[in-house]
Amino acid sequence: MTPEKYRELGLTGEQVRDMYRLMVLARELDKRTWLLNRAGKIPFLVSCQGHEGAQVGAAAALEVGTDLLCPYYRDIAMVLAFGMTPTELMLSNFARAADPNSGGRQMPGHFGSRRLGILTGSSAVGTQITHAVGAALAARMRGETTVVMTCFGEGSGNQGEFHEAANFAGVHKLPVIFFCQNNRYAISVPLEKQVGGGSIAARGQGYGMPGVRVDGNDVLAVYETVRDAVLRARQGEGPTLVEAMTYRLVPHSSDDDDSTYRSREEVEAAKRDDPLLRFGRYLRNVGVMTEADQEALLQKTLAIVDAAVSEAEAAPSPAPESTLEHVYAATREEH
């Protein structure tokens, strides 16, 4: 990173500080969730640690309020950037009735909020990618300038639905960013056993769209790449496939034991390239934040996390009988 890179990109000190804030917030929420899981308070989690740089860099290039997101389960930092609150995330972790994503029905990591422009997703990987294309088609039909961002792991880029979605968007030149967060593993399966040729970005040209690989641990590089893609999309030039290279610093989920398939050396090496540390360092180097600023931010963040946990833990679970609700529209609603 060149020292003044953020300015060259047209970002202000305030903006990059806010990006860092989101990364710290995502990381601390995530870390706390592991503690809650290990303490037996929440049955399951899926983690974003290591992906925060890619997510925050990408989200910063979007217009929250206008643009739409079809996320995947690791997108904690991404949905925070879209406006989901720490308390809302914790309500989801605790499966509380007030969880805005699902009312406690889905596992954590299954984001969705009409208010925030986050389209609901399932656990079946890849299905959200075609939804993004459909949402973009709808926007185009109404003459809106919305761009739709959709995220997925490189493993999920091998699902047929990725192909069908990318091709449809390519044919119709739809405003979609296909944002692959390549962390080199699909659970235990390493990249070379998953992806023929090893590159998801290389698939772009087969759909008539640019395919760009970017260092996903370099927040500003991701920002720049996605910003260009958003510009193209907004100008009607069509979709872009972005492959952000990153690493998952923790096991796949709370049910996983990654020591069975990754050496500790490999994980330690990746930790040295942790996007959070890197960006923190960069901000200190360019004088946007001091160490003290960052420490203060951390303390403030921890307090936010504390509050979110307390509030969510105290919130009521859904009523058991509500299991029967929301199968079909209760009445013939206007739609």
């Binding site: 699902s102 009312g103 909020s113 389209l119 079946a124 075609t130 973009a136 449809f168 079909y328």
Partner: protein, 327 residues
């Protein structure tokens, strides 16, 4: 009121609703300049343009997934699957996504899509252009499954389906397309989803059917009438959710129930209808609940003698009706 055939009634409904509501659009393979391989979307491209009549790439999961995404973003897509046999690549989108969107978001999102698909055999379509696949979806809460058996119902039910806030699978028997003609009002009307229609009042036996078989049942019932056997004939029309009250009342009325469908027997629609009756109105029954269905083979063969062997017809149905009446 004009006389139209079944497929014209479909086209009619699509055009009417596209005029009435800008959010409605159709998409699928060959629906544009070709007007659909069966011509159900004929004329729509000219009237509504390529933005609202979308020829898609050949990829059913993509078609349904894209439709769902468009619905989540405020549109009302009507996706055509060229033959119901080819809905299978889209099953994940239909069952994991469409059926569960309302439920999994506790109502924050819903998924108002319609998937139209021609189904059924007797057209030399062989294994992959003859299947009935409705029973694959009737076990899935969150979906609605509709199978009209007349031009009037085809239009009225399709209008209901497009206006329904939940995902509707709309299965059109392809043999009905040009076989059936009937009065179809030119204007706007709906036929409710979730309600049977009694096609013939009777007192000796109750027969449930839908689609093409309903017509064969009607003909068979006429044969039996001349023999003094009175058939109460119910058109199920909606297979999910079933019209439980009407089904139970119709079964109780005669105490003898027969379900007839083209699809193979084991675990077909008839299974649920029979189970429902035997559970809820058991003591009103005077005879075993019977099913007359396609044979339990993977699909209908191409060879004419085999196809004929597979398909039910007026005679096979009349024989079964007599067997039940004799109890």
């Amino acid at each position: 009121m004009a006389v139209k055939n079944y497929i014209e009634a479909i086209t009619d409904a699509l055009a009417l609703e596209m005029r009435r509501d800008e959010r409605v659009f159709v998409m699928g393979e060959d629906v544009g300049v070709r007007g659909g391989v069966f011509r159900a979307t004929a004329g729509l491209l000219d009237e509504f343009g390529p933005q609202r009549v979308l020829d898609t790439p050949l990829a059913e999961a993509g078609i349904v997934g894209t439709a769902i995404g468009a619905a989540l973003n405020g549109m009302l897509p009507v996706a055509e699957i060229q033959f119901v046999d080819f809905i299978l690549p889209a099953v994940n989108q239909i069952i994991s996504e469409a059926a569960k969107i309302r439920y999994r978001t506790a109502g924050d999102f819903h998924c108002p899509i319609v998937i139209r698909a021609p189904y059924g055999g007797g057209v030399h379509g062989a294994l992959y252009h003859s299947q009935c696949l409705e029973a694959l979806f009737t076990h899935v809460p969150g979906l609605k499954v509709v199978t009209p058996a007349s031009p009037y119902d085809a239009k009225g039910l399709l209008l209901s389906a497009i206006r329904d806030p939940d995902p509707v699978l709309f299965f059109e028997h392809k043999r009905c397309y040009r076989l059936l003609k009937g009065d179809v009002p030119a204007d706007d009307y709906t036929v409710p989803i979730g309600k049977v229609a009694v096609r013939r009042e009777g007192s000796d036996i109750t027969v449930f059917s839908y689609g093409l078989m309903l017509h064969f049942c009607q003909e068979a019932a006429e044969d039996l009438a001349s023999e003094g056997i009175s058939v109460h004939l119910v058109d199920l029309r909606t297979l999910l959710p079933l019209d439980r009250e009407s089904i139970l009342a119709a079964a109780s009325r005669t105490g003898k129930a027969l379900i007839v469908h083209e699809d193979n027997k084991t675990h077909g629609i008839g299974a649920e209808v029979a189970a429902l009756i035997s559970e809820e109105v058991f003591f009103d029954l005077d005879a075993p609940i019977m099913r007359l269905c396609g044979p339990d083979v993977p699909a209908m063969p191409y060879s004419s003698p085999m196809e004929k062997y597979y398909m039910l017809d007026q005679k096979k149905i009349a024989d079964k009706m007599r067997e039940l009446a004799a109890f």
